[in-house]
């Protein structure tokens, strides 16, 4: 598919009990183990000093993971950087990141990710401008991919029609 620059965010509950810096050693450990299939994990970057920013960033060649704080809602955000065959290839690493964090003894008692609400960000203003047409084109593909990976039916809606903003879609089960 041509459009692969997509971001997908799974929101977390309990994030307020975690200091972003606590995630730094976890991400470094993921690099040591190269914990993701089909990803070359490269580096960790601390952006926790930026309000509602990328928080702690885990850089991979194929896509970046971050504990994103946009709108004061903590979540795991995965931005794809390299081409994919299907949209499921973008959803799966994000799910895997959530699973790894939920199972990590350092944070598992205070961090749970929801899978009934997902945010999808089209990160390509050329191929996917923020308009109804792009949304109409993407909606069935995204619904199908989310259903395939999460086993739920999602209702998709656009968040903003501001042409300067990226096309951002909320998917709710």
């Amino acid at each position: 598919m041509d459009l692969y620059r997509l971001g997908i965010k799974f929101f977390a509950a309990g994030g307020e009990r975690i200091q972003p810096a606590e995630l730094i050693p976890i991400f470094h450990e993921w690099i040591q183990k190269q914990a993701f299939e089909n990803h070359l994990l490269i580096d960790v970057h601390n952006y926790s000093h930026i309000r509602e920013g990328p928080g702690i960033l885990l850089v991979a060649h194929q896509g970046n993971f971050s504990i994103d704080m946009t709108d004061d809602r903590m979540g795991l955000l995965y931005y794809r950087k390299q081409p994919v065959e299907t949209l499921t290839e973008i959803i799966k690493p994000a799910i895997e990141g959530c699973r790894l964090l939920e199972n990590d003894p350092r944070v598992r008692d205070c961090l749970r990710f929801h899978t009934d609400e997902v945010l999808i960000v089209s990160n390509d203003r050329l191929l996917a401008p923020n308009n109804d047409e792009t949304f109409s084109t993407l909606e069935p593909q995204l619904s199908s991919a989310l259903n395939q990976v999460l086993g739920k039916t999602f209702k998709l809606s656009r968040i903003s029609d501001d042409p300067k903003e990226r096309l951002t879609i909320r998917a709710q089960a």
Partner: protein
């Protein structure tokens, strides 16, 4: 699939658009192995595409060094093509508009990590950028009038200027139009292409403040006025040969009063002299400061003035001056005093540190403090909207890694503050001890030894917690941190400066910082600090606390920190630091053996080769690489069946190769086909210089024939032949240049050596 190139066609300045097309073609050639990696490295650096840590394919993960399994194509020596890199974006004098901020935000989101970083030289930087994305990134910038050209590499870097220029209460005159003209004039200028190292220029509107930092620049220009025959004339006190780095130099006075009309020609003459006489082989001694020191400022001045006399006249030298007096910025709002307006919580503290009253009544400058120079793409876009409402296009970046909004109506301050608070950019303390400056250090820089940003964040957090308890004298101090001795964090000019280093304790590496005290930012970086001693990174915050407390206790009257440091002396300062210098064993306290914000066991194994400037590539090599690219493009046009364009490109390639050689003898050859061919014929063909290897003279006939007899009809066969001939001609020029270089007839700069110490022509 649509492309930005198609979408933005017509929106970009044609020369900018063409440059980016050229770069894209060079990328293709490099990927195909048809362009040498060293030449490509310097080419990409001159487009602002800089290497980043781990791009050599190795990274220590805290346990072992991992090999990063990326494609083995390289974008420079030991620099993998697919490794993430940094993109530096030039912002001359820091001037940026809301529309440009919008674009920068878009690029940060789509091509980087959604963060924009303001540098200590008023640039923007994006990190973790893939080189394949850079042409689109550059086109989108070009469409809003921003270039990345010569943001890195051996070139004229971003021209900086005081962010208060034009609104400052103490300036002699507004240096903005001069900084702008200088930046534009030298960008891509042929005389600035043969440097052995980078060249940095700064402008200041006055002598006494810090904003311009002209004394630490290769060329520093301070605004001055002089009365001549009853008429006031503008000019500059001109300095050359300053610089930080491992060996800091204070700039030397070149001219007490350089009339404004001489600014650009003298900048050009200095460039020519630097290109010709500057060191080329030893990067560590290649900045102009070493040349000025070596030959002395008097001799340097004499050579530059001789050079000035022989330079061909250029209308651009003074063309811009007609508009200088009319240069002005348009405020967005009417001026009004802040009287009786409701003031939000925390407003007063913010107003005290972040607002500067302009000399224009009713207006002020607001500093938007960016912690560590960072803001998110979203904040950047929101800030653009805030600027649209309150300041219009009057935005500048600062060397303190902040952003200023100018021409804010004072009555708007409470509303502006509320809006900044909404977007998380309301931090007070601008220009105080909590406003710590730091280079990228080990976060992303290949040369970083210790974590400058990690330390900066720690110091900032600790000091912010007790900011209101600090003595006013301490609040005014400045802290600057570099990740290594190269001084990108400008530690030499801070009250309290630190640069990263490493020590080995029981066979383990421990991050340390050298403590540099008493630098002076004021008077344009008037004095550099004293290196006192090396302290483990984890003890530096305590050192800050100790030194500032001692300063408050022992300060004599209104004594400055610089004077305090001088008075108590280095031995005493050293004695104060000694209790912090010991490192416990790893077993008793392993925290010393990792750096701030990075839990990995500390190592310096990730250090790479610096790309601050690439390998020295001569002008001839660049010209010949350009000729090869043109032949490549002509081949593509031939394949597409566009024989007319194919022929034109092949001919242009031959001219490019010819001018490369001609310039080794006649630097100012007019860039016109007749002149190039005539000079080439006279100098290299008639003299048989070209013909002494591989029957070069035969290949010269290809150029002459095509020049004298352009085709009447464009056919495949003709175009095919001309492409082949162009390739052979370029090979002959390469061979000729190699031969001349071996004989020592041509210096590495590509120009004939000029003797130092004798009168010029």
């Amino acid at each position: 699939m649509p492309t930005w190139k198609e979408k933005l066609a017509g929106s970009m300045d044609p020369p900018l658009a063409e440059e980016i097309d050229v770069f894209e073609t060079q990328m293709v050639l490099r990927r195909q192995g048809k362009l040498d990696e060293k030449i490509f490295a310097e080419t990409r650096l001159r487009r602002g595409c800089y290497g980043q840590r781990y791009d050599n394919g190795h990274r220590h993960d805290g346990i072992r060094t991992q090999e990063l399994s990326l494609s083995d194509v390289t974008k420079g020596p030991e620099t993998l093509w697919d490794a993430p890199g940094m993109q530096r974006i030039k912002i001359p004098f820091g001037g940026v508009t809301p529309d440009q901020l919008d674009t920068l935000a878009d690029l940060a989101e789509e091509y980087a990590d959604s963060v924009l970083h303001v540098t200590t030289r008023q640039d923007f930087q994006l990190h973790y950028v893939h080189i394949e994305d850079t042409p689109s990134l550059m086109r989108r910038l070009a469409a809003v009038g921003v270039t990345t050209r010569e943001a890195c590499g051996n070139s004229v870097r971003n021209v900086t200027a005081c962010p208060l220029a034009g609104v400052c209460r103490g300036e002699v005159f507004d240096v903005t139009p001069y900084a702008k003209a200088c930046s534009k004039f030298l960008l891509g200028h042929p005389d600035t292409q043969g440097f052995g190292r980078k060249f940095k220029i700064a402008f200041s509107g006055c002598k006494h403040e810090a904003c311009g930092l002209t004394s630490m620049h290769d060329m520093g220009c301070i605004a001055v006025k002089r009365l001549e025959n009853g008429k006031e004339r503008r000019g500059f006190e001109l300095y050359v040969g300053g610089g930080l780095g491992a060996v800091p130099h204070q700039a030397k006075l070149f001219d007490e009063f350089l009339p404004e009309e001489e600014l650009l020609p003298i900048a050009q003459a200095i460039s020519r002299v630097f290109a010709r006489l500057g060191e080329k082989k030893n990067r560590a001694a290649a900045r102009i400061k070493f040349l000025v020191t070596k030959i002395g400022i008097e001799e340097f001045r004499r050579i530059v003035r001789e050079e000035r006399k022989i330079m061909p006249e250029d209308g651009r030298w003074t063309g811009y001056l007609a508009n200088v007096d009319h240069y002005q910025e348009t405020p967005k709002r009417q001026p009004a005093r802040l009287n009786g307006h409701e003031r939000p919580d925390a407003f007063e503290a913010w107003h005290r540190t972040n607002v500067y009253q302009q000399r224009q009544s009713g207006y002020a400058v607001v500093t938007v403090t960016l912690p560590l120079g960072d803001m998110s793409a979203r904040q950047c876009r929101q800030l653009a909207d805030v600027a649209r409402r309150f300041s219009g296009d009057n935005i500048r970046t600062t060397v303190e890694q902040n952003i200023v909004l100018r021409w804010i109506s004072e009555a708007d301050m409470p509303d502006l503050y509320r809006e900044l608070k909404c977007i998380g950019l309301d931090q007070s303390g601008a220009g105080t001890i909590v406003d710590v400056t730091a280079c990228p250090g080990t976060d992303t820089c290949k040369l970083g030894i210790a974590s400058s940003r990690g330390l900066a964040a720690e110091i900032r957090n600790r000091l912010s917690e007790k900011f209101f308890l600090l003595d006013d004298a301490v609040k005014k101090l400045h802290i600057k941190i570099s990740g290594c001795f190269n001084s990108c964090g400008q530690h030499h000019i801070a009250d309290l400066g630190f640069y990263g280093t490493s020590r080995t304790i029981d066979n383990r590496k421990v991050p340390h910082f050298q403590v540099v005290l008493g630098g002076k930012r004021q008077e344009n970086a008037a004095a550099y600090g004293l290196a006192i001693g090396t302290v483990p990174s984890k003890r530096i915050p305590e050192v800050v606390a100790l030194l500032t407390e001692r300063y408050v206790q022992d300060r004599a009257g209104e004594e400055s920190f610089q004077d305090f440091v001088k008075r108590i002396g280095k031995p005493e300062l050293r004695r104060m630091l000694e209790p912090f210098m010991d490192v416990p064993s790893f077993e008793s306290d392993p925290s010393y053996y990792s750096d701030w914000g990075d839990p990995r066991v500390f190592t310096i194994g990730d250090l790479g080769a610096g790309e601050c400037a690439g390998a020295v590539v001569s002008t001839v090599q660049f010209d010949l690489a350009a000729a090869e690219r043109l032949v490549f493009e002509s081949q593509l046009k031939l394949d597409e069946g566009d024989y007319t364009r194919s022929d034109a490109l092949a001919y242009k390639a031959m001219l490019q190769a010819a001018i490369a050689l001609v310039r080794t003898e006649f630097h100012d050859v007019p860039d016109h086909p007749d002149s190039i061919v005539n000079e080439f014929r006279t100098r290299f063909y008639d003299t048989n210089v070209l013909g002494d290897r591989y029957a070069g003279n035969k290949f010269a006939q290809y150029l002459f024939r095509r020049h004298d007899s352009p085709p009447q009809v464009h056919t495949h066969d003709y175009a095919h032949r001309i492409v082949e001939e162009a390739q052979l001609f370029i090979e002959a020029v390469y061979a000729c240049h190699d031969s001349l270089t071996e004989r020592g007839t041509v210096g590495i700069s590509g120009r004939l050596p000029v003797q130092v110490g004798k009168a010029g022509p």
